[in-house]
Symmetry: C2
């Protein structure tokens, strides 16, 4: 098996790993994403990483640990990432809309129809898996918090009129996102998915004109 360029770590001695950790975590992420956490064994992971099972245990220690790392890596590529990067004073509604659009686009474009790694994980692991469940709960709470701030900002800027308090509306938004991501495993048309978002946005008080514009 040919050596793959390992990151040329600075003052490190000894034999370097025969694989790039980043690539390995990516492979793990894709596997977890496709099959779910419980359906993936340590052997599966080692295979996907093209390394020996012992090297896997040596480098990662456990399935849980890799999943944690995969989750972080996933956070860097998920279509809802922009929700966490809105600055005070910035327009909010276009962001909300474009995030929804991106979700529809990305999920429909995924040939594996895998939905969202975090949403799948919540359904599968929260309340069941002691180490990872709480992690996913946190991820969800973070998102709800971020959306809540966004909605406050939007109301303050008079971009929309909420039918409830911001915290509740934010949780409602998150719930819809989870549902949308989940159903995207079955509803495979981007157009259809996006059309499904319209009722919800209307409920949030987003004016109809905001829906046509690309962000």
């Amino acid at each position: 098996m040919g050596r793959k360029a390992a990151a040329p770590l600075a003052g490190r001695t000894g034999r370097p790993p025969g694989f790039a950790r980043t690539d390995a975590v990516d492979a793990a992420m894709n596997l977890f994403w496709k099959k779910g956490f419980r359906a993936v064994s340590a052997s599966d992971l080692a295979d996907a990483m093209s390394i020996q099972r012992s090297s896997f245990y040596n480098s990662f220690g456990s399935r849980e640990q890799v999943f944690r790392e995969a989750l972080q890596r996933y956070a860097g590529q998920t279509p809802d990432a922009p929700l966490y990067r809105v600055r005070p004073g910035e327009a909010v509604v276009p962001i909300l809309v474009s995030v929804l659009r991106d979700i529809c686009r990305v999920r429909a474009a995924d040939p594996g129809a895998r939905g969202c790694l975090v949403c799948n994980g919540i359904a599968e692991l929260v309340g069941v898996e002691k180490t990872i469940g709480p992690l996913l709960e946190d991820a969800m709470a973070n998102m709800a918090g971020a959306v809540e701030r966004l909605l406050r900002q939007a109301v303050q800027r008079k971009e929309l009129t909420l039918p409830t308090d911001a915290a509740t509306a934010a949780k409602s938004f998150v719930a819809f996102l989870i549902g949308l991501n989940t159903i995207s495993k079955v509803v495979r048309s981007e157009r259809q998915l996006w059309a499904m978002c319209r009722p919800f946005l209307r409920g949030l008080g987003v004016p109809g004109e905001a829906l046509g514009a690309r962000a």
Copy 2:
């Protein structure tokens, strides 16, 4: 182990089962519901049913088969069942509202915080498990179909004004239901869950007055 009353099957000869099949399926359902399909082994099922593993294989054949029966049993107790029982001419909005309320109530009251068996299954199995995945897809499609008919009826009766076609609005409703059920594993307050429904109902065009009334 004391014999449990088996169903007194009519002209049946031979030794009767030492357990009631219905109870056994219920036990299986609760286990699947709590831990997910993959996390439950044949031994777990046999234990939950208080029978021998061989008796389990003898009576059910496979995990998949029990899951199928558990699903049917679940269908008889799920809070969204009323969606399938609306008659032509009947008022629709009160049903939609009360179903949502019931979901909030039932999910919050479940001490196991298990969410919805079908929704969990969709996230875990669709696109992964060959025999059960399609089953769950069907369940979802059925629901979307039922809701679509309901929405048409509601529009015809001028109970609400949809922002899109009925088929899309129905899928949107289903997506929200999935999200609501899933998030109910984390958001444990009935009141909070119900409040989260308000934005979505507004988006569907349900007038605010309809939300206060109990069904």
